[in-house]
């Protein structure tokens, strides 16, 4: 039972954290990421030489750390960032994956994409400008996509003389707004004053802001819990692949039937009673395997193979849950949908919805309203264009086993696929 027993201590954080940065152009996002990489010694000498050469070429005196996160040639030429980029650094205690998405209004889809795998969001505010429309937009999207931990980073403090009153006012403004959207109660929100350019309060604490006694940005990151370790989520195991090596001459393997997949939430132990959905067959867990290892129990985010006591006809797309769990197959879903494609959504067409490892054909039911991401106003609409977010329903050809996104990010999320192009055209969060 070693894995399932509880160990309470403060340092018991997951050794991997995924976070995202949100900010409008010029808020200092690239500089902040560059700083984090630089101050944690992730940047190696040859890369540094490369960017310092580029800095010189562009006539800059100091090394421009924002060049580190400069992406592809095409956008370098256009001078803008057009997509989500992933960066890595490690502190020895934790590995970090940063999703870096541009903050332009027309890039709602990029933000939603970046947010979908993040457990923490750093929302950048320019200290000279305070809480702006884009701050609201970024916060709303982080909220919508279910990010539990928000760090409001008031950047460019050097340009306001490291003034505490300016900082306090921005924090108060932000909190007022967060309360208004019902965000403050639900989330863990932290505030921090920064100068990304000077490298103040990111990894190092310089002497400029003695009035700030809180954690540095890196300290916040080091202690932030990753989402899945909070709360008691129910066991959800979408079957990815069924292993049946029956052709094998090995007698032991002759009847082997392993259900392979990743535990999306909760935990499971040998002997637990389980139900396979949508058919409702019941059995018990006979064994749990990970490679050569036989486990007594397994937990969220582990990829394992489950063996059941009974021979049950199960295939990819089925979901194994604990017997008695409230989840039921449904043929209609209501969700917030973010449209990702340049081709607007068609009410007449049939799409494919992929939810966990399962797919179903789907038709649009009704669209209740569209959300203006700047004002958060609900507007009546009959269509959905790229970057729009709407509350709507889908009718499904095949039943799906869903939870609400608010209770379970893995079984509450789906993507919409256009079969003619095979493109991913929408992202949904079930209500």
């Amino acid at each position: 039972m070693s894995k399932a027993t509880v160990q309470h201590n403060d340092s018991n954080v997951d050794s991997l954290l995924r976070f995202m940065t949100c900010g409008s152009v010029d808020d200092g996002k690239s500089t902040l990421i560059g700083r984090l990489l630089f101050d944690t010694k992730t940047i190696l000498a040859d890369t540094l030489t490369q960017i310092s050469n580029t800095s010189k070429k562009r006539g800059m005196e100091a090394v421009d750390l924002s060049l580190l996160t400069d992406g592809l040639q095409a956008e370098r030429e256009q001078g803008i960032t057009i997509d989500v980029a992933y960066r890595y650094f490690s502190t020895g205690t934790r590995k970090y994956i940063i999703a870096d998405a541009p903050g332009h209004e027309q890039y709602t889809r990029n933000m939603v994409t970046a947010a979908s795998t993040a457990n923490l969001a750093i929302i950048l505010i320019d200290a000279r400008r305070g809480v702006l429309t884009q701050t609201r937009r970024h916060s709303y999207l982080a909220h919508l996509v279910g990010i539990q931990h928000i760090v409001v980073a008031v950047n460019k403090m050097d340009l306001v003389n490291y003034d505490q009153a300016t900082y306090d006012k921005i924090c108060a403004d932000y909190l007022a707004f967060a309360q208004e959207i019902g965000f403050a109660q639900a989330r863990d929100i932290k505030f921090i004053p920064l100068s990304a350019l000077a490298g103040d309060m990111l990894v190092d604490r310089l002497d400029n802001m003695p009035w700030y006694k809180g954690e540095t940005l890196l300290e916040i990151l080091e202690s932030a819990p990753a989402a899945h370790t909070e709360g008691d989520e129910e066991f959800r195991f979408p079957v990815q692949f069924v292993c049946r090596p029956h052709a094998s001459a090995d007698a032991d393997l002759h009847d082997f039937r392993g259900f392979m997949g990743r535990i999306e939430s909760g935990g499971i132990s040998v002997g637990d009673a389980v139900t396979v959905l949508p058919n409702g067959y019941q059995s018990k867990v006979k064994a749990i395997q990970l490679g050569d290892a036989q486990l007594q129990s397994a937990q969220t985010e582990q990829s394992i193979t489950l063996l059941l006591e009974d021979e049950i006809d199960t295939s990819r797309g089925d979901m194994i849950v604990k017997t008695g769990s409230a989840i039921q197959p449904v043929k209609q879903i209501e969700a917030f949908v973010c449209w990702l494609s340049e081709t607007p959504m068609s009410l007449a067409r049939t799409y494919v919805i992929r939810h966990t490892t399962r797919e179903s054909k789907a038709k649009v039911g009704t669209i209740s309203y569209k959300v203006d991401v700047n004002t958060l106003e609900e507007q009546a609409t009959t269509d959905l264009k790229m970057n729009d977010i709407a509350r709507m329903t889908f009718k499904l050809a095949q039943p799906l086993m869903v939870d609400s996104y608010a209770t379970n990010r893995a079984t509450g999320a789906f993507i919409v696929i256009d079969e003619s192009s095979n493109n991913t055209v929408g992202a949904g969060m079930i209500i």
Partner: protein, 314 residues
């Protein structure tokens, strides 16, 4: 949600998490694609992927064959290791060679000693067509190079094998979309989120065997344009790669390779790390990126990798 709630589990280590994610991606490929293939070079990244595939699919067989695109300019040790590993696993290994493409006339070298690395894409596309593969699993990592930072886990290639940065599918949660129409192709990268350090730590933890040239050894080299270049390397064909040029002086140095690829474009680094744990230590204190140190073909331009990706490189 507050932090007060009870936590009933021991957090996964970062290697456990990365391993689990990679297994999940491999199983998604198996579940979604009808005819995938695993690109296997004998190098450290692809050896990690083989271990991950074992964990993903044993006691069953792999739901895909292995394939190596051989430039004909590979170290003999690596080729032997490749064959031995495939045999131990009892999995099918397909080898297609750039030299055959040269014979067919589909690969034309500008000069006889031009690096064949970039020509692998032609041979790869020919093999994809020959076998009708709809997905190639590769060992690329996002931290390898700037142009890869935006690469998807499931990366879409058109009928010409081209990667169009503007035509990539949004990738949300772990809902990977590996669908393709006939003739199109998906490149799947299960270790996208790994760094060089993660790879070495995983090799250490899993006790994976590696080709000997990854470990410090004595080798005849010369200095060319600031890089260490192995010279007079015997090839399977009987020829030698990187022949000594007039006026060059051979130095015998203790070196190891951080990546193994085409001899003409993979340089070793000076090192006395002769065990995996010493390599882990050395990687932790290294001041140069893997590609910066060892890939002669990437130094030409900031954007050279991106250019090659567009042409169908992995």
């Amino acid at each position: 949600m507050t932090n007060k709630q009870t936590k009933h589990q021991q957090p996964l280590s970062h290697l456990d998490w990365l391993e689990s994610e990679a297994i999940y991606i491999l199983r998604e490929v198996a579940g979604q694609c009808s005819n995938p293939v695993l690109l296997f070079s004998g190098g450290k990244d692809s050896l990690c992927i083989l271990r991950l595939a074992e964990k993903a699919f044993r006691p069953g067989r792999f739901p895909f064959p292995l394939m190596h695109i051989d430039t004909g300019h590979n170290y003999q040790e690596v080729i032997d290791f490749r064959d031995q590993r495939a045999a131990e696993l009892g999995e099918r290994l397909i080898v297609r060679s750039v030299e055959d493409s040269m014979k067919r006339g589909t690969v034309v070298l500008k000069t006889p000693d031009e690096s064949r690395n970039k020509h692998q894409s032609v041979t790869l596309l020919e093999a994809i067509e020959e076998f009708g593969f709809d997905c190639c699993i590769g060992g690329a990592r996002r931290d390898e190079e700037k142009a890869r930072a935006k690469e998807r886990i499931m990366s879409f290639r058109d009928e010409f094998g081209q990667w169009d940065p503007k035509n990539q599918r949004p990738e949300l949660w772990n809902l990977y979309n590996a669908r393709s129409h006939k003739g199109e192709n998906i490149r799947a990268f299960p270790i996208s989120n790994w760094t060089e350090m993660d790879v070495w730590q995983y090799i250490e933890r899993e006790n994976l065997a590696l080709p000997s040239i990854y470990f410090a050894h004595q080798r005849d080299v010369v200095m060319r344009g600031g890089s260490i270049v192995p010279v007079n390397v015997p090839l399977v064909s009987g020829e030698v790669a990187n022949p000594l040029k007039a006026g060059e002086e051979i130095i015998n140095m203790q070196v190891r390779f951080r990546t193994v690829g085409d001899i003409s474009c993979t340089a070793p680094v000076i090192s006395d790390a002769d065990t995996v744990s010493k390599i882990v230590l050395e990687t932790a204190t290294s001041t140069i990126t893997e590609r910066g140190a060892t890939r002669l073909d990437d130094q030409t331009s900031d954007a050279s990798m991106e250019q090659r990706k567009k042409e169908g490189y992995f």
